[in-house]
């Protein structure tokens, strides 16, 4: 077990973890506000990746890579990311409005099953629209590498980690400083009281879905840049793992989602490297169970004392 390999694994784990963290943010925000597990989140990621894939192909064809080198490198990626964010935001709001809003007063399990229905719907619609044969997603930032001492780090990994940090900072700023963000926190604390204070709860929830889905689009693009095969089921397993990550860190907590995501990514890589590739998933979930036993509300979750 040499140090260099260890560092290499660590960086890979961080990169994988950053993607989990961005997905987990979507889960955690929606959970914090609407108290529901949005199982369709993973499939919104997949939709985002497809939109980006097709936009990049279309826009990429409009530029001649020889004469307009810069435009050919930047424009498709930029257009792809932006358009997929827009589409996913709309999709998220539409799903919320059609499927979840009518169930605001319903038991949480009913909402959970509806979310699963939406997830099936998105997967099957994607299969009909875009067929199930895999698409190979070329990284949005090219396949370049940087040399950091003895380590080689690809651009994709750098961008993923940087994007994760930027999103974290922006979200923290948003929830703490802006009016909308404060409204979101208020709704997640106490819906009734927030409404009495004049906060439009429905709009706040829709807004949360919009932000969560835009994040899902970014996560989708990053996920497929790092692991380039894209199929209609691409989002489901990362979705479940990110959900695990959100619980890991304490569901409802934004820094918790970051911490949970990063830890999950690193544990997954290390488990397959140093324990067994066959059992890596089992090890990840085993660690999760141990952590939840020690800290029943997740790493950064608040333990709410029940008052009698």
């Amino acid at each position: 077990m040499d140090f260099l390999t260890l560092m290499d694994y660590l960086i890979r784990g961080l990169s994988l973890g950053s993607i989990y963290a961005i997905i987990a943010l979507g889960y955690t925000m929606v959970y914090g506000i609407a108290k529901m597990l949005n199982f369709a989140h993973g499939d919104v990621i997949m939709v985002g990746a497809y939109i980006c894939f097709f936009t990049m192909n279309r826009v990429g064809a409009m530029f001649d890579p020889e004469t307009q080198a810069l435009a050919a490198a930047v424009a498709p990626a930029l257009a792809g990311v932006l358009l997929s964010m827009v589409v996913c935001t709309v999709l998220g709001v539409v799903i919320e409005g059609l499927a979840y809003k009518p169930l605001r007063q319903a038991p949480s399990l009913a909402v959970l099953i509806t979310a699963i229905g939406v997830s099936y719907f998105l997967q099957n619609a994607a299969q009909l629209l875009w067929t199930s044969s895999p698409k190979y997603f070329s990284p949005i930032v090219g396949s370049g590498q940087v040399q950091a001492g003895p380590l080689t780090i690809s651009h994709v990994i750098l961008v993923t980690i940087v994007a994760c940090v930027v999103i974290m900072l922006a979200l923290t700023f948003f929830t703490n400083k802006t009016k909308m963000g404060k409204a979101m926190r208020a709704v997640s604390e106490d819906k009734g009281a927030a409404q009495l204070m004049g906060i439009n709860v429905n709009r706040t929830i829709s807004m949360t879905f919009a932000i969560g889905s835009a994040l899902a689009a970014i996560a989708g693009v990053l996920l497929c840049s790092a692991y380039p095969t894209l199929t209609p089921t691409t989002g489901s397993m990362p979705g479940i793992k990110a959900f695990t990550a959100a619980v890991f860190g304490g569901i409802g907590s934004i820094p918790g989602a970051l911490l949970g995501g990063l830890l999950l990514g690193i544990i997954e890589i290390f488990a397959s490297a140093y324990i067994s590739t066959q059992l890596s998933t089992a090890v990840v979930f085993g660690v999760l169970i141990v952590i939840l036993l020690v800290k029943p509300a997740g790493l950064l979750g608040k333990t709410v004392r029940e008052k009698v």
């Binding site: 099957n124 044969s133 095969t229 199929t231 997954e268 397959s272 490297a273």
Partner: protein, 408 residues
């Protein structure tokens, strides 16, 4: 009130379902629905004649939806093209094809098979994938419906069933042939295997490969696995291979995961020789895949879409025109299945008004005797022994400049 309403709905649902299920078996309405979905005018044409018993009812199950649907759809389309061609050419032997979805699940495959049985299936194309294939082949055996599966390659599919035949190599045979090929051609000193732990196909090939490699004194320096759940990051497996000093990676897996391995190995600057099996075929057709990554990849496959012979080119052209994709080996195997059945039915002198059991008895006699020339046969012809296993020579291919080139 709420509860009763829910119950009322659920009740109404189940009643309507039961009514739908208990309906007249083999109703023509359902068969039109499915044949229509195959999307071809001629199939609807032949469908109407099915009612008066002038065509053979040919059924198959495969994953038409879900994660594995690429294989099922390919087989369905390949077979449909063959059926349409036969209809166009005219002749005594005509087929009506019906594929049912099994979502790559053994339990659903049994349901799909039973749906076909109710429809009145006379000859079966088995299942497309291995686990469902193991389940439906037992039913084929019990119901005495002859089956020729295009691609269910596990040996358990044909084991101790006299009326189930395979068009593809069995998994162990692929492992065996790969080990022999690597050893004969001296392709690598140190071999490392990356295989998919929860996949029957991958495990079957890998087990036999390891056994044979030992016998041939091939140096297998290690192996690493992944599962459906961890099919994203292969850095660890690749690093292990690199540290073991492997100069040849053996990948008994499908091309979707293989394309990830290739791109990640490339990003790591690790460049071993790569040897794949027939699941690797299709890698060049992945939308957006850079063929440069697959440069030098070797594979043993019975079919390649770039072959220059007339039959393959005509097939590829038709497939592309109808479905907008380059066909893979599943499509070719299913296409061959239909023609092989046609040949066997002609030889046996079967007619569409015969019962499934009579056809089955005749085909069991005939199949081991015929030699079939198909897309997947390498010109030498395809033969079967009485166990149902196929004998055809796999082609060693290497990818050069984004195209397959024969290795010998």
């Amino acid at each position: 009130m709420k509860k009763y309403l829910a119950m009322l709905l659920a009740g109404a649902l189940s009643v309507s379902l039961l009514a739908g299920c208990g309906g007249d078996s083999g109703s023509s309405a359902s068969s039109t629905g499915s044949a229509g979905s195959a999307g071809s005018a001629s199939s609807t044409g032949s469908d109407s004649s099915a009612a008066d018993g002038t065509t053979f009812k040919l059924g198959g199950t495969g994953p038409l939806t879900g994660g594995a649907s690429i294989y099922g759809l390919a087989a369905q389309r390949g077979a449909q093209i063959a059926v349409d061609e036969i209809a166009e050419a005219g002749g005594d032997i005509q087929f009506t094809l019906r594929y049912e979805d099994d979502v790559h699940d053994a339990e659903k495959a049994v349901n799909a098979y039973n749906t076909l049985k109710e429809w009145g299936m006379q000859i079966s194309l088995g299942s497309v994938t291995s686990k469902p294939g193991e389940a439906t082949s037992v039913l084929n055996y019990e119901d005495r419906i002859f089956a020729l599966t295009p691609s269910a390659s596990s040996p358990a599919v044909i084991e101790s069933k006299d009326n189930v035949f395979q068009m593809c190599f069995s998994d162990p045979n692929q492992g065996l042939a790969s080990a022999q090929y690597i050893s004969e051609q001296n392709l690598g000193e140190k071999v490392f295997i990356i295989w998919k732990n929860d996949d029957v196909y991958s495990t079957g090939i890998k087990d036999q490969f390891v056994t044979e490699a030992e016998a041939l004194n091939l140096n297998v320096v290690g192996d690493a696995t992944f599962t459906t759940d961890s099919q994203t990051d292969f850095t660890v497996q690749l690093t292990q291979a690199q540290q073991a000093g492997a100069d040849l990676l053996f990948l008994p897996i499908y091309y979707d995961a293989a394309s990830l391995i290739l791109s990640q190995a490339n990003a790591m600057g690790y460049d071993p020789a790569i040897f794949g099996v027939d699941g690797m075929d299709g890698i060049l057709t992945v939308d957006g895949f850079d063929p440069a990554l697959a440069e030098g990849v070797m594979l043993l496959t019975p079919f390649n879409a770039d072959a220059q012979d007339e039959a393959t080119q005509a097939f590829v052209q038709k497939y592309q025109a109808q479905y907008g994709e380059v066909p893979n080996q599943f499509a070719a195997d299913a296409y061959d299945c239909v023609y092989a059945l046609k040949q066997a039915l002609e030889t046996a002198g079967c007619t569409p008004d015969m019962s499934a059991e009579d056809i089955c008895t005749k085909l069991i006699e005939v199949f081991p005797t015929i030699t079939f020339e198909g897309l997947t046969g390498d010109g030498a012809g395809i033969t079967w022994d009485s166990t149902g296993a196929v004998s055809k020579s796999p082609k060693g291919m290497v990818i050069q400049n984004g195209a397959y080139v024969g290795m010998d």
